[in-house]
Symmetry: C2
Subunit: 326 residues, 2 copies
């Protein structure tokens, strides 16, 4: 099969591509070819199949048609301006996160009735906005509190209408915050959830801008890749409406995260966390969901970690070669 | 104040304009000028203020900027391809119902920080899709089952983001099905709810395509105009998120509607209703909401009829000059 990854140079895109390269297949089907697309050129990669790396401007006229020209069997749509940046740069956020998605869907439909690819869309729990019940049922009304969440919610609605009309075979995954995010911090407002684990484990100081009581919904990068693989290979439910699901995850407070870090890595790393309250960040975080039932997604076979210790150990295994700065 | 009505030649637009002409004011503020815009030229009207009638192609490039050029204080956005037609003509529905709304919002924002009009957006209960609880709480997740409902839901999300960002002062009204709709049937799939009352009262036969047990959420055209006037003049709630509300209405089954018709108009008219089941229409209607709490809208001062007899009497008063064919 031919796989198109849009947003292939991002953290999740790179890890998904590495997983494809390691497995050589998606479920029962061999991967014959991958098109790795992003606004920057994705890093080269050893893979048992050819990888075509393309850089371009996703929402530019004709770009979606160019990506669809090879009629990929699977399209994994990860391209996004992250939450913090989409909030600061309104036009840029709408251009990539809404116009780009609109044009991609239109191009798939315009390719004709005989082309009906599977589209896996990376949505976000940012489609939900406060006030929340303690645990959010799958039927909860979405009132996103950010432009990013709005753009994700709109793309979900479009995806559902395209699925209902039979133009494609799609599914939306409302991803939890991915922790521990490797590499340099990006502009996501949720960055500190990763920073307070990653930086201390690397011997660096991390700033914690919110109280220890802040609770959030998280999953590891490994789980995120697992969601994408499952979404790409599973039999999709017959219910064509509302086919976006809150993914499973683990709800933990910042205090619980720090306690887990101490259990896994001893007293050294937690000493490198510096509490420096930031009312701006705390204000944004106050509008975020804390926990989900995610019953539907679990019934569909999506799986995530059930404790923070495991999430931290996965980071140490996958990113740090098994060791850390004690 | 200067009022722009987009969709001014439609049923609700004409009635809203007639109400402005009768009152000469909106709340405390005199209406100085009305721009009546539609794809066809709205009928001329005696009014105590100048009415500029413009016909145009709403989503065409530059059209929204042209409409906004006079900096209207109030914009009432009623323009839409109705549900049945938007379902049959995918491109036309998205072009008017989504692209048009997107461009209107963008034009308002582009007019600069000093221009912050009130925008009253006519949304629809079509943003809700089955399966439903018996009575839909205000927090219910929206999973529209039609392209029309999708387009309305997306415009709501955009409106909320623009309100949150301070680009305009907006509110979305999820209108019930408007009964009794005067004039010739349009392409709305809900048309029969009006047909079975209007046609018999005019001495004509009406076809009923669904069982008597079908239950739906309705309000009169007079109530719909009242919603718009209230939305145009009320102090908007401080909560800038999710500022679209299910409007109050009256839930009745088709059987209850027919019984009300007999109470109001005697045995003659109900004898002109011919039952001719149509599985296609019945299938569409099965996905529609039946009743709402609408607690938030009522607390905000929106009002509708509480019985079907009144809805029928309003039609006889407002459209038939007080008489009907017995």
């Amino acid at each position: 099969m031919h796989v198109l990854i849009i947003g292939a140079a991002g953290m999740v895109g790179r890890k998904f591509l590495a997983r494809l390269a390691a497995d050589g297949a998606l479920g029962e089907r061999a991967v014959d070819r991958v098109t790795a697309y992003d606004c920057v050129t994705a890093d080269p990669l050893d893979a048992p199949f050819p990888v075509e790396t393309i850089a371009g401007d996703f929402p530019a006229d004709g770009e979606a048609e160019r990506l669809i020209a090879g009629r990929p069997d699977l399209i994994v749509h990860l391209a996004a301006i992250v939450s913090g940046e989409a909030e600061q740069d309104f036009d840029k956020g709408y251009r990539i996160n809404l116009d780009g998605s609109l044009k991609l869907l239109a191009a798939i439909r315009a390719a004709g009735e005989r082309y009906r690819p599977r589209l896996v869309f990376a949505s976000s729990i940012a489609v939900y906005g406060a006030p929340f019940p303690d645990t959010i049922p799958d039927s909860y009304f979405h009132t996103p509190l950010t432009s990013y969440g709005t753009q994700k919610a709109i793309t979900e609605l479009l995806l559902h209408d395209y699925v209902r009309k039979g133009f494609l075979d799609g599914i939306g995954l409302r991803l939890p915050t991915i922790v521990v995010r490797p590499g340099a911090p990006n502009k996501a407002a949720s960055g500190f959830f990763s920073n307070i684990l990653r930086e201390p484990l690397a011997g660096r100081e991390a700033v914690l801008p919110v109280p220890d009581t802040v609770r959030h919904w998280m999953a590891s990068p490994r789980a995120a890749v697992g969601f994408l693989v499952h979404a790409a290979t599973m039999g999709l439910p017959d219910d064509v409406n509302g086919r976006s699901y809150a993914m499973p995850g683990h709800a933990a407070t910042v205090g619980e995260m720090i306690a887990a870090l101490e259990r896994v890595a001893g007293p050294g790393p937690v000493g490198r966390i510096r509490r420096e309250p930031d009312p701006f960040v705390a204000g944004i975080v106050a509008g975020w969901p804390q926990a989900f039932e995610a019953k539907v997604a679990q019934a569909l076979g999506f799986e995530a970690e059930s404790d923070m210790d495991t999430i931290i150990r996965i980071h140490i295994e996958d990113e740090l070669g098994g060791s850390f700065v004690a």
